[in-house]
């Protein structure tokens, strides 16, 4: 687990063709406590994924800095569950997991254990494209937890699944986090999903540059997160101006 300080003075996308350049973040500050589950909630295209990519170090083209408290960036174990599973289609599920682990027998056992835990034991030797999207998403989760992340970035990881499947995966994520605690940055445009999972919700809104419309702490017990009425009540509160 690691705490995180994000300070983005300026992030813009350059003009491409007829489209003008776009300033996405200006003087954006965010501190994330170690072990918290922070949901970034906002409409599509507002810049949530861009923020995750900057935290992940995939996008370094910005002014400002992102610091991990008490840790050098190289020492932070980072996992990223992308919007599409991004498994290597020419490697089996097991191989996909082994690739993020150090070599050795221990890693192999760990990979098998994780696949077991996510109900993928039978599919260990199967190539990803032969599996359903739900299974591929579970495999992407397994891969993320395989590295025992301090910081877990998730970009709409349960999108385009039917609701019951998505809900089972949310339960699974919750269970996994209990066993392997991590600081989580979770991007979604679904307010119910955010309330169901998060300790803290940051409601972002456009148009660019991004503004924080609301920063809300969610204190719900596990059973309350399953109650429709509780979720609905908080949703009203969250979205009302």
């Amino acid at each position: 687990m690691t705490a995180l300080n994000i300070e983005i003075l300026c992030k813009s996308f350059p003009a491409v063709g007829a489209a003008p350049s776009l300033l996405i973040y200006r003087d954006f500050h965010l501190s994330v406590e170690a072990g918290s589950f922070l949901c970034l909630l906002g409409p599509s295209g507002v810049g949530k994924t861009t923020l995750l990519n900057m935290v992940a170090g995939l996008d370094r083209d910005f002014e400002g800095h992102i610091n991990f408290v008490d840790k050098a960036p190289a020492a932070v174990r980072l996992a990223y569950v992308f919007q599409s599973p991004r498994l290597l289609p020419w490697r089996t599920l097991l191989e996909n997991l082994l690739l993020v682990l150090p070599p050795g027998e221990e890693a192999r056992e760990e990979a098998h254990r994780l696949l077991q835990e996510l109900g993928l034991a039978e599919a260990a030797e199967v190539y990803p494209e032969r599996l359903s999207l739900g299974m591929q998403r579970r495999a992407a989760l397994a891969r993320a937890f395989a590295v025992k992340p301090d910081l877990l970035l998730m970009d709409e990881p349960f999108v385009s699944l039917d609701e019951p499947t998505a809900d089972r995966l949310r339960d699974l994520l919750h269970r996994l986090l209990k066993r392997h605690p991590a600081t989580v940055l979770f991007v979604t445009h679904d307010s119910r999903e955010a309330i169901r999972l998060a300790d803290r919700i940051l409601l972002l809104e456009g148009p660019a540059p991004v503004r924080v419309r609301r920063d809300m702490t969610i204190n719900l017990a596990e059973e309350e997160r399953r109650s429709e009425s509780q979720i609905e009540a908080l949703r009203q509160q969250l979205l009302s101006c």
Partner: protein, 249 residues
């Protein structure tokens, strides 16, 4: 079509070819168009004397050396051009230049500059093929999936792991295309190289037969070589491609 049907049609079509050939040879009745049996006879004679195997072996060795050299250098150049915009802009015109340089010019220049040596022969063939491979592999490198590259970066694959597990598997279809077109091109150019400046190999034998107007031997070597190249395709390239593509749905 199942295997039996395919075999049937192949045999039928080849037989039709033989019949047509036989009939034409009968009508023309000239030494310059021997019938199939005369060609078979020439083939058996050449095989019995051991010349056939010696020459095909010599040619195959040159094909293999030039092919590997071209594939290795061509892929390296192609991938570099695909990955770096600056390099692509700088060397694009060179590539066009070499692509359009006649094979014969390259062969003659290699012999003039490096002498009538084995190295010059293989180099000439490889240079003919390198731009071709480079163009195909550049397309492959341009089409690399950014999503997977990012994934590899986040999970700290490192250079070698990324190359082996992320980049090269995506290049397999391009590699296969380059090998296919490469094999067909390379063996044809090798024959020219042998004809112009070597004293062994199928090209050299064809030249000797040409001097004697021995068309039966020319055709015998041609068919023997077609057989060899087809077996390479069937025994090596196709199984490799199947293995590399087994993950596809």
């Amino acid at each position: 079509m199942n295997t039996g049907q395919r075999l049937f049609w192949t045999v039928l079509s080849l037989s039709a070819f033989l019949v047509l050939w036989q009939a034409t040879a009968f009508v023309v009745a000239s030494r310059t168009l021997p019938p199939p049996l005369a060609v078979l006879e020439a083939l058996v004679t050449a095989a019995r004397q051991g010349e056939l195997f010696y020459n095909i072996g010599a040619t195959l060795a040159r094909v293999a050396a030039a092919f590997l050299l071209a594939l290795l250098l061509g892929s390296t150049i192609g991938i570099l051009l695909g990955r770096s915009r600056a390099a692509d802009q700088l060397f694009h015109s060179w590539l066009i230049l070499f692509l359009n340089l006649p094979a014969l010019v390259i062969i003659i220049l290699c012999y003039v500059w490096f002498g009538l040596t084995e190295a010059a022969a293989v180099t000439a063939v490889a240079i003919n093929k390198i731009p071709n491979v480079a163009v195909i592999m550049r397309e492959g490198a341009l089409a690399l999936d950014r999503d997977l590259t990012e994934m590899a970066r986040v999970y700290r694959f490192g250079r070698w792991k990324t190359l082996r597990h992320v980049v090269l598997p995506q290049l397999v279809p391009f590699f296969a295309a380059a090998s296919r077109s490469g094999l067909a091109l390379v063996w044809k150019i090798v024959l020219v190289v042998e004809l112009l400046g070597r004293s062994s190999g199928v090209g050299f034998e064809l030249y000797m037969a040409f001097q004697l107007f021995d068309v039966a031997t020319i055709l015998a070597y041609a068919f023997a070589f077609i057989l060899v190249i087809q077996s390479i395709e069937l025994a090596l390239l196709q199984p490799w491609e199947r293995a590399a593509n087994r993950w596809r749905r």
